[in-house]
Each structure stands twice: as C-alpha cells, then as structure tokens.
Amino acid sequence: MKSFNYVIQDEVGIHARPAGILAKAVKKYSSKITISGNGKSADAGKLMAVMSMGIKKGMEVTVTAEGEDEDTAIAETEKFFKENF
C-alpha cells in the first residue's frame, strides 16, 4: 500500500468538478484509491461519496492506493491533488 498526505489549498475545498474528474481518472487503475479526512473516508472513484466528506480548505487528507499498479496510481493522484486542490 502506498500513501501521501496533503493539505487542501483550494478555497472551496474538494469541490464538485475536479472531484468528478478525479473519480473518472482513478477508474483506469486496478488499485483501490481511498481518500480519508475530516473523520471520514471514501473511494476516490465515487464523486458523491467524496463530496459528502465535506473536505474544506486547510484540512489534511490521506490518500492511499492498494493494488498492482499502486506506484503509478499514487504518483499520478498526488500530482492531481497538487494541481487541483
């Protein structure tokens, strides 16, 4: 299992559009990508679940990837977080 921590910089937090793009993007990995934060956790491939975590600016999230392609998956997901949240 691979993981990274990230503090949300975006003013609105994890909001709908990038979360939706992320949900689509992670489907191409065989690994399971999970986001945890604000006392909750959700499958990154599920937009509504991710949004319902209510992650806002300044909160720290932990993202994990578990599966065969976890190295690529975590690297690309971390890049996505840095660019979008």
Partner: protein, 541 residues
C-alpha cells in the same frame, strides 16, 4: 402599488409583466413492477438521454455564458454517472420492485438531504444540483421534452426557485429579469443571472397571484414594485433608458484598442485590492493591472502572511491575466492602514511617519518574504514591482539590491523566475523634484495622486474640515505631474497615474497631451476612459 424587499443579485432595472413559472409538477407515484429487468433498461435509457441533454446544455451555456458557468452541467453529468447514485436506483428497482421514476426520485431526495445537512454553504448548495438531475431523469421517463416556458412577450420571470438547467434553457431575449423566493446569492442561478447581465432578486415571496401583473425590479434598492403608479413607472422608465444608453456605449468599446486619434497607444490598466477583483478587470477589458495593492494579504490576517500564501495570490492574478501586465505594489502599511501584529507605535503624524517602504527597508525580513513571493509568481505571467513612498535615490538602489539578492537566492535554489520591470510610485514632492535622477534607476513611474496632492498642498486627507480647500486640480499638482512626465521620458522611462486623478474624466485629455503613457483606474472606469482616449489627440510630447 405594492413593494417587497429582497436581495439583489444584479444592479439594474427591469420593467414588465410577470410570468409565474412553476415546474411541471412532477408527481411521482410509486408503482409496483413485475419485470424489473425492463424497468432497469428504462432507467438506463433515460439516464443516457439525460446525459445527452446535459452535454447539449453544456455546449449552449459555453457559447452564451462561458466555460466557468457552463461547468455546472459537466458536473451534473458526472454526478449522474456516480456509482453510488446509480447503485441505489438499481437496487430500489430490483429489491423493492418499483418503477424507475420512483426509484430515481427517492434516491435523489436521499442524496439531496445528505448534502443539505452538511455544515458548509458550498456543499449544501449541491443538494439543488442533485434535485435538478433527478428531476431531469424523471422528466425523460415521463416523456416530457425540454419546454420553453416563455411566451412571445418578454417577461419578468417569477418562480419559487429555479434550477440552473431551467435558467439556461430559457430564451434570453424573452427574459427581462428574475424574481425567486428561494436560492442564495451563491447559487448557480444567481451566478448565471450575473453573467447574463439580467436584473435578479431573491428572497421575494412568490406565488401564482403574481401572474400577469406589471412589476419593476429595482436592483439597486433590491425592491420589487408591483402595479406601480404612473409616476413611479415613468421614473423607472427613465432610469432604464439611461442604463441602456450607458451599457450600449460601453459594450461597443470592449475589445477596442486604447489608441488616440493620432495613433498613440495608451496602457489603460485597472487597480485592484484583492485576487477576486481580477474578474472585474477582465469583465471591463482593461489591458492590465497597474496597481495591485498587496495590503489585503496583511490586513486580513492575524499574523504575517507566509511566502506561500502570497505566492498563491500573486500567481493566481498573474495567471488569470494571461500575459497582461500585473504591477504589484509592495507593502504600503502604516498611516491610515494599521495592522495589530506589526506592533507599530502610535504616531502624532502617521502620514509622514513610519510607513510603506520605510518599514520594508527597516524590517527586511518582511520585505524579502514578499519579494520572494512576487519573483516566484513572475514565472507565471507578466509581473512588475513598484515601491511606494520613495523620497531618495538611495532607497531605490537599496530596493533593487535586495531584489537582486532575492533573485539570486531563488536561482541558486533552482526556482524559476520571470523578467520583472521595476518602478517607483511618485507620491512625494521629493520624488517629483528628483524624478530625473530616479528615472535612471527604474523602468517606470506610477504617480500616486492622492498622497502627492496631500503632501504638495500640505492638507491632511483625513481632516474633513479641510475638504473645501483640498483641490486635486491645483496647478501645483498638475505641474508636478507634467514635470515627472518630462523627466521620465528623457530617460526612457514610461510613466502612469494610478491615483484617483487617473480616472478623472475632466483631466484625461490634459494627461494625454502631457504625454502620460499609462492610466490605471478602477475597473468600472476603464471603458469610460477608453472612450475619451479614442476621441482625443495626444499631440507632440
């Protein structure tokens, strides 16, 4: 005549008959089904159709209101494809053996409630998006096509609430304004109304009794006036006409160059005091930002803003301006702008006291942090730096030296930095008198007429008793400006005005004749000034 007060979304006047709009009440009934397989297929087909509609709406909105506002339909499409949402609907059809309409409506309600209960305004507002998508799928299942709710005559539309998709589907040429009972100023409908430039009010009690009545939306006082008397109607008709004249005038000028009749190109820039103001700069079509007051970063905080916080703010503005000039004025705190954590001593005469560049050169750590942030941001756009309250060549040399050190530091760390023009604010009589010497040190001058007037006339701006003799058109001030322009041009320095005088339309022609290269004004003044520039002759200077 009746009057209601609500909250205004867009300042402006609309006059017309009200059309009361209610969603074709979609009564969803629970029906038991035998063939759940067929019902699942009905749902899948309706979902595909709804996705298609959303893509079309996205394209329509993209053309009419731009990518930022169109994005909502892209989000709707993504929500509609959400696994949990779909599983919940399929599960209801299969296990409860209910019709697709009922499964979609109850699932939509459940998800919407989940968002409604969240403690953040942004996420709460998403519940309306979920209702919108589930209603869309239900209408497809009901076989209802997208309907045009409006008749032939343009109307003021009144509704309990409007979903973003309903707003976009409406024929804009038939819409004079919106009035809704629900919705927040943050809702997409509100944002769309703003972008489409249609007067809109929220928080007004709406029911079908409004249908067909004559009404006035006064966006300035946030009032809805029903059945206005003749006098009121006449008053608002005049306001409306004036507004239209202004709007037409200004719209025509968007996209036009800031060139005088004799071909001199003027840099017509805007002043901003926060990152959010950039939208106004772009909406008013300014060529760049001539004064980005960096104080907001310090005033909003309870401690010194970090390099990273500042970098993000400068970078955002630089990127949004996409290659157009962004001139950041370094910290101008002190005098009338006080911040607790700076622990500045109380002064008898703060306007002439410890402020602006005087603080920065004394407390270099604060200054270096800001310069690092600005230089890092310069890799993302066309940034300029200007130093406020300069009175000597030494000060400028010191600023340049520190900037050069910071630049080298960043280079050694392998952090990219762009080219940055450096300038000084001319706002003290001292700077005016030595402007020939200062011009050799920098790329540009920006004349801060507010302070320059107060220091030249020796009149405290804050003292209301002196208002009657505070004359910003005083010949002494105008001569100073002329002197600065002449001295700067001798050394190949360009020169602008970023104080309030820059937006004074009675002086624009004089400034052009003096040879001013740049005017930086409030975003709302950009187009009126453009009009004057395009109608004037700069002459030889």
């Amino acid at each position: 005549m009746e009057k209601f007060e609500g909250k205004s979304i867009l300042k402006g006047v609309a006059i017309g008959k009200i059309h009361y709009y209610s969603k074709g009440e979609q009564v969803v009934q629970r029906v038991s089904v035998e063939d759940t397989g067929a019902e699942l297929q009905r749902f899948e087909a309706a979902k595909e159709k709804a996705l298609e509609q959303l893509h079309e709406l996205y394209e329509k909105a993209l053309r009419e209101v731009g990518e930022v506002n169109a994005a909502i339909f892209d989000v709707h499409a993504m929500m509609l494809e959400d696994d949990d949402f779909n599983d919940s609907i399929r599960n209801a059809i299969e296990s409860q053996k209910v019709n697709a309409e009922y499964a979609v409506a109850t699932t939509g309600d459940n998800f919407a409630r989940m968002f409604e209960e969240m403690d953040d305004e942004y996420f709460q507002a998403r519940s309306a998006d979920i209702k919108d998508i589930s209603e869309r799928v239900v209408s497809v299942l009901h076989g209802a096509g997208a309907k045009n709710a409006l008749g032939d005559e343009p109307v003021i539309l009144a509704a309990k609430d409007l979903a973003p998709s309903e707003t976009v589907q409406m024929d804009k040429s038939k819409l004079l304004g919106f009035v809704t009972e629900f919705g927040s100023s943050n809702s997409h409908t509100a944002i769309l109304a703003r972008t489409m430039n249609i007067p809109a009010l929220i928080g007004i009690p709406v029911d079908e009794s409004l249908e067909g009545r004559t009404a006035i939306i006064d966006g300035v006082t946030a009032a809805l006036i029903l059945d206005p008397d003749e006098e009121t109607l006449k008053l608002y008709q005049e306001k409306k006409q004036e507004e239209e004249r202004q709007r037409e005038l200004l719209q025509e000028l968007k996209g036009k160059e800031d060139v005088t009749l004799d071909g001199k190109h003027i840099r017509l820039y805007a002043n901003i005091g926060s990152v959010g103001d950039t939208a106004k700069v772009l909406a008013n079509d300014a060529d760049g930002i001539g004064l980005f007051r960096s104080e907001f970063l310090y005033l909003e905080k309870s401690d010194y803003p970090t390099e990273e916080e500042q970098f993000q703010a400068y970078k955002t503005v630089a990127q949004n301006m996409a290659g157009k000039k962004v001139i950041i004025r370094t910290l101008d705190i002190g005098a009338d702008k006080q911040v607790d954590y700076f622990n500045l001593d109380h002064e008898e005469n703060p306007a002439m006291g410890y402020r602006a560049i005087r603080i920065c050169l004394d407390r270099e750590d604060i200054f270096r942090t800001q310069l690092r942030a600005i230089l890092r941001a310069s890799a993302y756009g066309n940034i300029g730096i200007m130093y406020p309250m300069i009175i000597s060549v030494d000060e400028v040399k010191k600023c340049k030296e520190i900037l050069a050190q910071v630049r080298e530091e960043l280079a050694n760390q392998g952090i990219p930095v762009g080219d940055v023009e450096q300038g000084v604010m001319i706002e003290t009589p001292a700077a005016v008198m030595i402007s020939d010497l200062l011009a050799g040190e920098v790329d540009f001058f920006s004349i801060g007429t507010n302070d320059l007037t107060q220091y030249t006339l020796a009149i405290d701006r804050q003292n209301a008793k002196l208002d009657s003799i505070y004359d910003s058109h005083h010949p002494a001030v105008l001569r100073m400006i002329r002197m600065v322009v002449e001295n700067s041009h001798k050394c190949g320095c360009w020169v602008g005005i970023c104080g309030e005088l820059g937006a004074d339309t009675t002086l624009t022609v004089d400034f052009l004749r003096m040879g001013i290269d740049e005017l930086s004004v409030t975003p709302a003044s950009v187009l009126p000034i453009r009009k004057i520039i395009r109608e004037s002759v700069a002459g030889e200077n």
